[in-house]
Point group: C2
């Protein structure tokens, strides 16, 4: 891969995920914290009106508006659909972007710790994961590489190299010091990695364990589509802990328990994420694997 010459750090894609929004403000005061020798760094506050409204979004989820078809469809005209096109023009356009790499900063209400979500498993990303893990052993590396980057809907898919920094648990509309510190640490490590990659000064990197997205589970609903149960407390807060076949995953309001019967060893994450209720989602499932460099 060519050298990375321009990096954009994006915060506030979701208006009630505060860590990125506050970090952008701090970096505006002290820009040297995100500047590196071998590339330029810019910042972007993606969705200020949703922050003002103290909501994830005004009309629709900004972080699902970046398919090539939707970006090309001018009839998709609500606030986030419009804002996506503006951001795409500013950092992109997707497929031929003037920016080389986007770091999009997110929080989750789930107990995922400091997670780095990578959209493809190329040599660059595999090394980035190794570098972050070696300097931040508490980090978790998640590959969401089930489709080519250009087919992804995420903001950071504007650029071929795009990553999501996802830190939790943090309630919506809250700022936690520990979560803020983890987000800054991981973001600065990514910048350090890019700088070392550009200048061919990467340290020795080791193979590591990571997770690969597999599927998303829905909450149990009745025929009218109403939720009839919740995430079981056996699973709650146990992100990235292996589920065994027969383990309880849902508790119905009737008292009944629903069990996991998967054909693989599943590592749930995004467990009981507040923003997933819109679509009755309960958690994502991943498989664990070893990244070989």
């Amino acid at each position: 891969m060519d050298e990375i010459k321009s990096v954009a750090i994006v915060g506030g894609t979701h208006g009630n995920e505060f860590s990125g929004i506050y970090l952008l403000r701090q970096w505006e005061q002290q820009p040297q914290r995100i500047q590196r020798q071998s590339f330029s760094t810019s910042t972007l506050f993606a969705n200020p009106p949703s922050y003002e409204a103290n909501k994830r979004y005004l009309d629709s989820d900004l972080n699902r508006q970046f398919s090539l078809a939707d970006l090309d469809n001018i009839e998709l005209a609500n606030y986030e659909q419009s804002r996506a096109k503006a951001i795409n023009a500013f950092l992109g356009p997707k497929g031929n972007a003037k920016t080389d790499l986007i770091i999009d900063l997110h929080n989750t209400t789930s107990n995922m710790g400091p997670s780095l979500i990578l959209l493809q498993s190329d040599d660059f990303n595999k090394k980035m994961g190794a570098y972050v893990m070696q300097n931040m052993p508490e980090a978790v590396i998640v590959y969401e590489d089930q489709c080519p980057v250009e087919e992804q809907l995420f903001l950071c898919s504007i650029t071929q190299q795009g990553v999501i920094v996802e830190i939790g648990p943090q309630p919506q509309s809250v700022l936690r010091q520990d979560v803020l510190d983890q987000m800054e640490k991981m973001t600065l490590l990514i910048l350090d990695f890019i700088d070392a990659y550009n200048s061919n000064t990467l340290p020795a990197l080791n193979n590591y364990s990571a997770y690969r997205y597999k599927e998303t589970l829905s909450l149990p609903t009745n025929e009218q589509g109403e939720r009839i149960g919740m995430v079981h407390q056996h699973v709650q807060d146990n992100d990235f802990v292996a589920l065994k076949s027969g383990d309880p995953i849902f508790k119905l309001f009737s008292g009944e328990e629903i069990y996991w019967h998967g054909e693989y060893e599943a590592y749930p994450h995004f467990i009981n994420e507040a923003a997933y209720y819109d679509n009755n989602l309960a958690m994502s499932m991943a498989e664990k694997f070893t990244v070989v460099l």
Copy 2:
């Protein structure tokens, strides 16, 4: 005090505090769970439109609209100001209420555990606290009795006997099984207590430790009123843990730490509650004392 003849359980006063809303639905299916021999129990979903909007409130905080002056002021006409008057007519009117006791169900993002908030320290409430503690040792009893009940702004101040069941931590717009179970347990214990009180069958009750609200601390701000710091991680999640003079309570974005210098042993609670950001509040402070029966 006279016998309690009618109890109203209120949920969804804040639309993004899900436990009470879901419990009301379950009790609708199985009303016998909240029925007791010596009094009638009704339920009320206080703010359905704010639940539909997935927000605490549409226009203003419903749980601050119940002063006698505001209830009498027909010019206060936004949604929650109007809904408050409707609820007051239905359960009250405040000062001469047809309901004897209101239990208002709330969640907090703070690590307060199962808390019972009492608005006056009369013999009835002191015994209620003892009864709940004896049957639920993890419960915390908080007296917010700094003014007469009729001067309180809370929904449950419609009735002279009104209590708040406040369970956390739970992010806004999330339903946790453990929090739901604690809320139902505490609510049913309050109903059991009332039934035993009415029928003169209370067990022997013991003195207990409780907390009394003292003051509320604001987040540090600059001259423009912008937040310049956050709750220190030394305090985060340590609700009802004593603060000593000299302990850090805020971390400024500049890196500086702010210390607590109180003239009393303070027990912080509602620490970093999401809903408090509207007013730049950081936490409430209480003193610990012994309730003597």
